[in-house]
Amino acid sequence: MPIQLLTTETIGKIAAGEVVERPASVVKELLENALDAGARRISVEIRNGGSDLIEVVDDGHGMSPEDLAAAIQRHATSKLSAFEDLDTLRTLGFRGEALPSIAAVASVLIASRTADAPVGSEVRVDFGAVGPVDMAAIPMGTRVSVRDLFANVPARRKFLRQASTEAGYATRVVSSYAAAYTGVAVTLTVDGRRVFGTDGSGDDVAAATGVYGPEVGQAALRLVPLDEAAAVPGVTVTGWVGAPAVTRSHRNGLVFFVNGRWIQSRALSFALEEAYHSLLMVGRHPVAVMHVALDPATVDVNVHPTKAEVKFVDERAVCRAVQRAAHAALLGAPQDALPRVQFAASAWQTEQRPMDLPRPRWGPDPDTGRETASAGDPAPEDEKHASGVPILRVLGQVGGTYIIAEGPQGMYLIDQHAAHERVLYEKILTQISGRMADKQSLLDPLIVDLSPEELGIYERSAEELAQIGFDVEPFGEGSVAVRAVPAMMRNVDVAERLRLILKELVEGGAGDSWLDSVAISTACHTSIRAGQPLSLPEMRELVAELERSSQPRACGHGRPTMLHMAQADLERQFSRR
């Protein structure tokens, strides 16, 4: 269908909005255009977080010189001519808004050639100023190069995060599409380095391996068609879910496509996790790429300016379909993975139930950070350590997570994870003051697969990680080799902890400097976890170490390490006063 202008009526019905929020949104729009053009190969390149360059090259059907001129006009689309069409939409684009919106805030060069044209054409648009359409030598397909994004909108530029973070967002977009469009060979290059590539073979597991690495690829369980009784009419779910052994601390590994469109949906995420039920530990999330296919008339894609959200006519039915599909795949999962995880998970769940005490009047005062020492309290100040922690007698552990202790002024609850994190954080700081930390070498290098985002942050943090005691080197595409770990990091799953540290850093550091941020993350992910039963001597040792630390009241992230329930409060709660 040739490109035509939409009628004003149709335009009015389309929610206009901010299409270009950040480099990742540009990447998404260009990728979708390439997919709409029927490309079999797409390569994406990003430089300096997308601020310097975003380039998408495809081998799709291309554009004639006339179409090229029309493509950069607002509301020019070849994909939709009247609003009714929205209901039968099969393409990702429909507003005719993406290219002009991008061209308004960047220097854009589009070159394209159709199959039957002997020579291609190109047009340049600099921050909205459209140049002439020229001839250009280009293979069949389209190349869109976006330079100097937001150079004319300083406010927007300032709003961007660090280049590595922006590259991380963009990577997530490309990863998701590459994993979902298995028939298209997608490669991503960031700052001149190839991050991943898929083979376009059409195989789910091959694509998952290409994007997320062999560890995820091996864990991918293909979804199988449901039998008639379980199937939800009108909704088909395909793709794969990861075995319960492969988990993440965040939901970024949950990728949903609805009629080929990448969407974010809390409802679907929850429905999917529900299928894993007790197979996952609290706080862990699975990985999955799922396609939901349904009648376009039963889903509204036009509720969000970047099309990231959709509205289902019957959301419950879609959730049900997702859940059943995942459940069926998990039931067929290799036997050995299930019982082990299940065991741990159920233990965790009972241990993680929140405490339920009547109106506790305890906890640090939000303003001063000090515990609420009640007015009537005698408060003997003498029995305290230099650090300000009262002398404590450990009584036991609640929920495998909190240590109960008695002090001169009542009862104390210590969060074992936060406390240990504080202790380790200070140990790291002392160790690295002016030198490198002690480390323990590994018998054999441990190869850890990293997601493109994690790999990016690893590269940025390599020096800091080394100072803290990690001996890590790049190893092939998408992996690193760990040769030594910080001396304090023992008896833990090194690969998992390293990934958690990097993951946290992807979100941006919590410290004053990057080294500090890396130290905080390392302390957090090396320390005793919530839900880990401790023996009395272990608890005493931890409390003693906390007493010795210089700032025992909060962990490196600023969460409190202990809560206090004053004697007087106890008496009040039990109606003794």
């Binding site: 160790q431 323990q440 590994l442 001396a487 023992r490």
Partner: protein
């Protein structure tokens, strides 16, 4: 069922199998023991699906039958009975086991034995090997502790048992250290076989072996998923861990730049002293190896540890040293672990510099090798 047996036989058998009783389980029958008549004897068995223990005691069988009852309750009750004949009876269809000794009597409510998992038996199995019980017990004690305690790589949480020719090799590694012990089989096996056993199961096996002297028979079930061990009148069953154990041979250094021999006891003491100070400093213990001044003057090993807030310690141990003066640091716990399982006498330590794997062996025996990765002390 109607049988009678001796109290002390029954008590010993119940204690033996109770280690395989599941403690927390969703399947009530797994916290029970099975009692069954078996060709004129009484078979007593328990399993938690990870391991299973079956043992036989002499009994006079008046009526065949079987039942399962709460292991702990039966064990506790039988423990208090005098050493005299005990009568066990079940009146079907009610699954109540009556236990009687003289005028002491109990009725314990049971669960139908049909609900109890079938524990495979040792007969006509695909693969069988025999080994001296005391050798096996020592092998287990020297290797098992080096298995990983985290489950991230299930294979490393287990112990490799390699049957090849007429040797059995046990190996375990947790990423930081490796323990390998070789022992002799009573007769050669026809083909090489590698299996990986859970560390905990091996500890149980060592306990069951106790001071047995009859050869231990090891067999693999036809499905290659379980190990069956016959120790005297007891059979032990363990699931196997699936996977391939890493090639550990390539990790063991063959040659050393520095090699030292010294008294194990003296070195063990020095390490223990240092470990008290190392505790607050990631368990770092430094070894400084001083070669002898002249040919007939012994060298020494200085064992030291420093904790910034607590203080420091140094000890010297006489040693015969070949090679240049070197320094290396190890985790005190790892040293203590291996020194604890070496026979006393002389210990040999071989190393190739501060960043390379160190090897600990008995100076008198070649059959046990322990590799420890050093700690790298941060440069200023």
């Amino acid at each position: 069922m109607k049988v009678s047996c001796l109290q002390d036989n029954l008590q010993r058998a119940l204690a033996q199998v109770s280690r395989a009783v599941a403690s927390k389980t969703a399947l009530p029958v797994l916290s029970n023991v099975l009692l069954a008549t078996d060709e004129g004897r009484l078979r007593i068995a328990a399993t938690n699906l990870e391991i299973g223990i079956t043992t036989w005691i002499g009994a006079s069988v008046d009526e065949e039958g079987k039942v399962t009852v709460d292991a702990r309750l039966l064990n506790e009750f039988v423990n208090t009975l005098p050493n005299a004949p005990v009568q066990l009876a079940v009146e079907s269809p009610r699954m109540t086991l009556s236990v009687q000794s003289g005028r002491d009597k109990a009725g314990i409510n049971g669960i139908d034995a049909e609900d109890f998992p079938v524990i495979p038996r040792l007969d006509g199995d695909a693969f069988v090997a025999e080994v001296d019980p005391q050798v096996l017990r020592e092998m287990i004690s020297q290797v098992e502790f080096a298995a990983a305690t985290d489950e991230s790589r299930p294979v490393l949480a287990g112990v490799l048992a390699r049957f090849e020719g007429s040797t059995l090799v046990l190996a375990a590694a947790d990423g930081f250290r490796l323990a390998v012990r070789e022992g002799e089989l009573a007769s050669p096996v026809p083909e090489r076989l590698d299996i990986i056993l859970p560390g905990r199961a091996l500890r149980e096996l060592a306990r069951i072996i106790g001071d047995q002297t009859e050869p231990v028979r090891l067999a693999i079930t036809a499905s290659k998923s379980q190990l069956l061990v016959r120790v005297g009148e007891t059979e032990f069953l363990s699931r196997l861990i699936e996977g391939t154990f890493p090639d550990f041979r390539q990790i063991i250094p063959r040659e050393f730049n520095t090699r030292l021999e010294m008294s194990r006891d003296a070195f063990q003491n020095a390490v223990r002293r240092a470990s008290y100070f190392a505790r607050d400093n990631n368990d770092v213990v430094r070894l400084t190896i001083h070669p002898g001044e002249e040919e007939f003057m012994p060298g020494s090993v200085e064992v030291s540890a420093t904790a910034a807030e607590r203080g420091s310690s140094q000890s010297f141990v006489d040693a015969s040293v070949t090679g240049p003066e070197t320094q290396i640091a190890f985790n005190a716990r790892y040293l203590a672990d291996v020194l604890g399982v070496l026979k006393n006498g002389k210990v040999m330590i071989g190393m190739n510099g501060a960043n390379q794997a160190g090897v600990v062996r008995s100076a008198e025996a070649e059959d046990y090798t322990h590799v420890i990765m050093p700690m790298v002390i941060g440069a200023q």
